[in-house]
Symmetry: C2
């Protein structure tokens, strides 16, 4: 199969919202004057972001999900994306499920592919995603204010726990393993929540590199600090059990700095508490307030007895 | 150096046109209601699109140039781009010249970086570029009409000749070698020409995979055919000499199907001939008419004696 036939078969779709879809030198879209265009990009590399031999359906989902998660963290409504990837060979048995996973998520959020590029090379996937958000409503990292409550949208730490189990560093009961695998491989971008938060939150970020590391971006950008409480952080049952057991040290680390859950961390005034709690419940999310914003810079985390925890480094692609 | 420090040092620039530049979950831009947004993406892989050990300054230039060339072929004015790349290690001796080459071209065309992603991995660079073009003025591939003249913006075949010399398949006189190396490694996206052609051309494409292969895209999309003449195709002197000598067969192939020159191929009515010729001259480009559009589908190329040439396959990343 040639490069063109490959694109045509698995990735070409008729334009619906776009003025001109894929298949020309560029796609053309019209952005309403009442909206800002939000743009983000993420690259996933085999052996770094996913295992060699990863399920292609889930991989297709994941590589779009991490981009949509950035749009969600901005409060943007996803509209378009481009897909570039290098792959060792044009293999229908891989491309077909990959494209199905990709478009399953794309269709769920009404986001449209408008172009791409394929080439031979080590498996690498790069997506640029675009969304719309009303001017002045975008959830920047720099908007946190002293007195804000700090929220997490849903349980975190599960993806990292699953990774630890894959590495043989811990074990997970059979009953929890598949659910955590789904968490890791098919994260749910919190689009509806992000759109809702435009009118309530002051700042937001998606937790890709770990809670503490990503919160630190909000704190630095907003020139504030935060105090959070370990016991308030929502975690999956399997991780909660480990927080109470002999693997507590590892479990604390996974809770505070485990990445890849793609939940939102956001800050909002206490006056918005009721509305946000109701929305989380309506969306079936087990998120909640984990602490609050303070004037003194830096992040402090406390355990169940109020003792300060030492904070782990977040993941770095050139160190991790 | 951490991933964040790396981005900060070499790729973070203050927003100028953008509402919000890099450093948040997304960038934010405002697209005027009077414009369509044109979007394109290209990925370059070491060992496939460039040699291992390629000059990083030129590589930075090239990876943006191939994207801007797509915008030029659409008649769009470049505005923004995102940059994602995997690289084996965070090496300042590579990153510094790479970013300088990238921004040298970006600054020349007033195009602004608005985000990106870096990760460890085999050297792979992916850019998504965005530009603006007035609705209905975009130069699609599908607009060619019977009777149109077929133009090439400037000499082609030089990049492929240089590549053949690198592979030891031919030799180039010392006096021409560096100029051809520049052609290959630092192509000039024909932005000003593309903007001009909005008002004159019916269809356009940039020649990345070779003249015949790329022309075929226009012909298929427009449901027309074309006749072109080898002797009318502008080529560099070094290639012209080979067309007259013992390496003629190779030279014909490079002229008709050599890629990577990133010149524009476009079609326009004869009534626009004078204006286009004058613009090419004003831009210092040695382009011209190489043939015309006919009703019968397919591409025919003729040699100096009017004999039909057999047309080579264009490059395919999964075969080439």
């Amino acid at each position: 199969m040639t490069e063109f036939e490959l694109i045509e078969k698995y990735f070409r779709r008729p334009a619906s919202r776009a003025v001109l879809g894929g298949g020309d030198d560029c796609a053309l879209v019209q952005i309403p004057a009442t909206q800002n265009l939000a743009v983000t990009t993420d690259m996933l590399v085999e052996g770094r972001h996913f295992f060699a031999g990863a399920d292609p359906y889930r991989l297709g989902w994941e590589c779009l999900a991490v981009n949509l998660s950035d749009l969600a963290a901005m409060g943007a409504t996803p509209r378009y994306f481009t897909l570039s990837f290098a792959l060792p060979k044009a293999d229908a048995a891989w491309l077909e499920p990959f494209s199905c996973g990709l478009f399953a998520l794309a269709d769920r959020h009404g986001v449209e592919i408008i172009g791409g590029d394929t080439t031979a090379g080590p498996l690498t996937i790069s997506i640029a995603a675009m969304g719309e958000v009303p001017p002045l409503k975008a959830l920047k990292r720099s908007g946190a204010r002293v007195g804000d409550e700090v929220w997490v949208s849903h349980e975190i730490g599960g993806a990292a726990l699953r990774l630890y189990a894959c590495w043989g560093k811990t074990t997970i009961p059979e009953a929890h393993a598949e659910a955590l695998k789904l968490r890791m491989e098919m994260p749910e971008p919190r689009i509806a929540l992000g759109e809702f938060l435009r009118d309530f939150a002051h700042a937001a970020i998606d937790i890709s590199d770990g809670l503490c590391g990503d919160m630190a971006h909000i704190l630095r950008a907003s020139n504030v600090g935060a105090q959070i409480h370990l016991s308030a952080i929502p975690v999956p049952n399997s991780l909660h059990e480990k927080l109470l057991g002999v693997e507590r040290e590892m479990a604390v680390k996974l809770t505070l700095s485990g990445g890849d859950d793609y939940e939102l961390c956001f800050t909002a005034p206490p006056s918005a508490h009721g509305a946000i709690a109701a929305k989380l419940a309506a969306l079936g999310l087990r998120g909640g307030v984990i602490g609050h914003i303070v004037a003194e810079p830096g992040l402090q985390a406390f355990d169940e007895r109020g003792v300060a925890l030492s904070l782990p480094q977040s993941f770095d692609h050139f160190r991790g």
